[in-house]
Amino acid sequence: MSSTLEHDPRVIAERSGLGGVLAEYRRRLRQGDIGPLPVLVGLVVIWTIFQIAADGRFITPFNLVNLTLQMAAGGMISVGLVLVLLLGEIDLSAGVVSGLCAAIMAVLNINVGLPGPVAVGLALLAGAAVGTLQGAWSTGFGIPSFVVTLAGLIAWQGAMLQVLGRTGTINLGDPFIISLAGRFLSGPAAYVCLALFVAYVAIGPVVTQRRRAAGGLTVPPLAFLVIRAILVSAFATAAVVALDADRGISSGLLFLIVAVIVVDFVLRRVRLGRMIYAIGGNAEAARRAGIPVQRVRILVFTLASTFAALGGILGASRGYAVNQSAGQGPVLLNAIAAAVIGGVSLFGGRGTVWGALLGTIVIQSISNGMDLLSLSSSIKFMITGGVLITTVTIDAVLRRSRSTGAR
């Protein structure tokens, strides 16, 4: 766009072509606008450490499939939390709401005898209702979401225990519910998924570039798009080949990826997404611009709790059971940690849902690796906490250098 606007002499001209893209990227790195790079580097480090420490048992098709199974539930909760965090709000109840909705599903299916799909649908509705209630309560009475969802954290936990009743544990046997997280796509089916993903990653930006060019706007060089698409596709292909060498792509992982793609699209391309970022950036400005701030807030809390419910259902499906510990402590904390590691700001307005997916991979890799090493949970908690604070510190330090070392 610089070419179409008059130039301020202080502004370094953006060079065109691939060199320009690289120069721009280097400039952003210097300014601390680092994107997902540190998380990717961190992930490589973590995987390398575990691969060495576990004598090569970490990066194996078998263990990677396990990793994807472990990711689905927490990742889904993180997706919902990203929406809330982007508003500059927090949902402390996400963990127990996931447990509550899993319990509701189990009771409706096993004790009441409703068919699997109906039980799942009602559990999702229950999640949505919980979110609407919390969001409306927070905006309606002007109580910080921290407090409202803290009350929710306690109250919904009680509700879950009430729903589960005296038995405490409900085993699941419904084929539909079990298949939600536990079915595998292997062979041709897996590669069809891969092809769809690659097409989305490669073709989408090219279409956008065409539209921009047709509208007379500056466009990123095609070579840049091609290189980026090749890199992402290569990673995706490697992952699918590895997963297919074992059981394949789990349905839980597939749900998670689809959720990430859909939410990412809404956040970047749809008016609702723009409103969410605007409210997180400056709620007063958003209000003055005519954005229905309260309605968006309530909607986001509803979506977040629904994603939490979905996460809880996937977790129950994978574990074939719901018990009293469903959705307790670490579930919520890991989901928040994943979002924060992925670069989502707790102050609102910054972050992406892809970042949260990366953060989920980091958190679950640590958990998975330490299980392989048979470390006690005391050690696991301490290391997870350490990784979280390290990531956030790196981000904070780089951010400070960005605000002081601006153009």
Partner: protein, 279 residues
């Protein structure tokens, strides 16, 4: 007028864009505005000056629909209107740029220019935004106003104060706005940036907009204003031609050292200043 306008000589044909008469507003024990009048024509800059507590902010809030006056009439293009909410005034085509700018630091320039009125892609599902159309029009508007920013796709956070102010002002002309209220637009800016914003105000006038400028800075007022309306203690002192009213006279009006148009003795005997109200 510093810029004689052929239209303007024909007094009968010209109606102000916005015309306020006998505006009074009371907050509890405080009479914030008493019988205040104010008007702004197309393609002119009217400065609103006065000491602290003179009622400038209250008057701006009446115009932008935040405060409803207790009495008085407001006319928009000669037609009587009531402004009960900010939406009423926005709907007429009155835009207000507050001192805090009300920009979202995390969004890029295009996102801010279209905040709350994003364009949807025709036939697109679920309000998918038409980024290409928004960017094209954003570039168009910025170029028309000669706003200098490195790129319309960088976040507001990485712009300078003057550039932010320019984006905020540019946003006020994005719709079909015809009157722009600027509250202390140069308060936090350096010299070069102030110059940039003043040039921008002149271009708004060239585009035919009526600009209302609130400022404490006389140098800025004289740099762009065609007329100057002085308020003191919630009362209208007078409206003066900027070209022939000196800074000393203006200060005298603002402090009450010399009575203004509205106050006895009548201005014909008051000698100082050239009232131009009711043109």
């Amino acid at each position: 007028m510093t810029t004689p306008d052929p239209e303007r000589t024909d007094a009968g044909a010209r109606t102000p864009l916005l015309e306020l008469h006998g505006i009074s507003k009371r907050f509890g024990a405080v009479q914030a505005l008493t019988d205040v009048r104010f008007d702004v024509f197309p393609a002119e800059v009217v400065a609103l000056v006065g000491d602290n507590g003179a009622g400038k902010s209250t008057l701006i809030k009446v115009i932008s629909g935040i405060h409803r006056p207790d009495s008085g009439s407001i006319r928009w293009r000669g037609r009587e209107v009531t402004l009960t909410t900010p939406n009423d005034s926005t709907a007429l085509g009155i835009a207000t740029v507050y001192q805090d700018l009300a920009l979202c630091d995390n969004l890029d320039v295009v996102g801010n220019l279209y905040l709350g009125r994003e364009l949807a892609r025709p036939g697109g599902p679920l309000g998918v935004m038409d980024e290409v159309a928004m960017e094209r029009r954003a570039v168009e508007v910025l170029r028309r106003l000669s706003v200098k920013i490195p790129s319309v796709r960088i976040p507001i956070a990485s712009l300078s104060g003057g550039q932010r102010q320019s984006v905020a002002v540019a946003r006020s002309v994005m719709g079909n706005n015809q009157v722009v209220l600027l509250d202390e637009p140069t308060a936090a800016l350096g010299m070069a940036q102030t110059h940039e914003v003043l040039e921008l105000i002149k271009r708004l006038r060239e585009q035919g907009l009526g600009v209302v400028l609130i400022s404490h800075n006389f140098a800025n007022v004289y740099a762009v204003a065609d007329r100057i309306t002085v308020l003191r203690l919630g009362r209208w002192v007078g409206t003066y031609d900027a070209a022939v009213t000196s800074r000393e006279q203006l200060i005298a009006f603002m402090t009450g050292a010399v009575p203004g148009t509205a106050e006895p003795p009548a201005v014909s005997e008051g000698v100082i200043g050239h009232p131009v109200e009711g043109k």
